[in-house]
Symmetry: C2
Subunit: 233 residues, 2 copies
């Protein structure tokens, strides 16, 4: 429908959803793009543009009804689709994800956790028994989940993904350090914690450098800086 929605807009949608959910919980009934823009630190114009990719949810002179808008965004995001997911890998990350992410309230349902290690098969995570990965084929055929959360070690990621694709899974959330390439018809969301850490490091360094250079305007000087910095290990 409509013209294609840009990636930038899509990336912002969950944030809108979160803020609207907060507003809803705090009992706010209506909000204007201007008020929301202040809370979120974006322009009102951007909010209106973003929302109008999907339709007109507001009312001139009034603004947006928080409950209605939040529900509509939920629909846009597919949170009302009853999507179900299996998770492969019941290590630390799997355990954390299964416990932390409020699956149900976000409209997802985690219906199976799998691992191939005898040590964890049969143990319980958040009330769910960890199942044997050897049985995942029949489980998927029977329950038809749409998504898979991959919290397996790096070495296993490609073979697991391939196997699950052959069973019909088309959407993956990948927590491994390696990227899972997005091939035809397959959707991947890569989550790399260390990337976030590196970005934080970059910003910290940038801030410290600009402080060190004083508030003066700095000329470019990239070539003679080489030896000043020691090499960490």
């Amino acid at each position: 429908m409509d013209k294609k929605v840009s990636g930038s807009v899509i990336n912002r949608l969950p944030r809108y959803y979160r803020h609207l959910t907060d507003l809803l919980e705090s009992g706010t009934e209506r909000i204007s793009s201007k008020e929301l823009s202040k809370r979120m630190g974006v322009t009102a114009s951007q909010i209106r543009q973003d929302l109008n990719c999907f339709g007109g949810f507001g009312q001139q002179g009034y603004g947006y009804n928080v409950e209605y808008l939040q529900k509509e965004i939920a629909k846009i995001l597919g949170l009302d689709q009853g999507y179900t997911a299996v998770m492969v890998g019941a290590g630390n990350m799997g355990r954390t994800f299964a416990t932390n992410t409020k699956f149900e309230s976000r409209g997802f349902k985690l219906i199976g956790i799998f691992d191939n290690s005898d040590k964890v098969i049969g143990t319980t995570i958040n009330g769910m028994k960890v199942l044997d990965y050897a049985d995942i084929k029949s489980f998927i055929e029977k329950n038809k989940p749409q998504m898979a959360i991959l919290t397996v070690p790096k070495a296993a990621i490609h073979s697991v993904a391939e196997e699950l694709i052959s069973y019909g899974i088309t959407a993956f959330m990948n927590f491994s350090y390696t990227e899972l390439p997005e091939t035809e018809g397959i959707i991947v969301e890569n989550v790399h914690l260390s990337d976030s850490l590196m970005r934080l490091s970059y910003k910290l360094l940038e801030k410290n450098e600009s402080k060190a250079n004083g508030s003066k305007d700095n000329k470019e000087n990239n070539e003679d800086e080489g030896d000043g910095i020691e090499n960490g290990d």
Copy 2:
């Protein structure tokens, strides 16, 4: 330094770093922007533009030396700065983060894990004793970490952040569902797993809808690979 590097470029840096590290491990000595572009699914032009925000690291007719470029990017990211971090919150997420993220190899060092619950204080995570949050002030004054990883419950996030700011911490990685706003001089990297899940859901729905609409115009659907990552700065 120079003209400000755009957020889009910064967001891509960790990805370059990862790919170069992979290449290095596989023994590749040199690579051209063209070859790298194929591996990463971006344009060669973009790679050259991105790198030249920081200097000329290549050589005409040759390409880039993988080891040298990887080291240079590490420097740009601040991975050679010997940054240290404390973590607050030794629950599931804290445990996972401390165990999974290869701190040392990324140039960071986690030097203290804190919690306020008697149940976890004194237990060991990845060889480190969990310390009492009541002692964090003196710990920070003594060891002067630059970063804090916050893996505390939503309700505690703001008060913990405020306290650590008052002790001089300026860079935060926030895993709680709530956003930590980026105030003057404070750097925040928000990690929201449920946002990724929602993005996955959106893409899945979008794909299914375009399939339902026939193969009419779903040609343009696939442009958004890798980690979009919000620039919620």
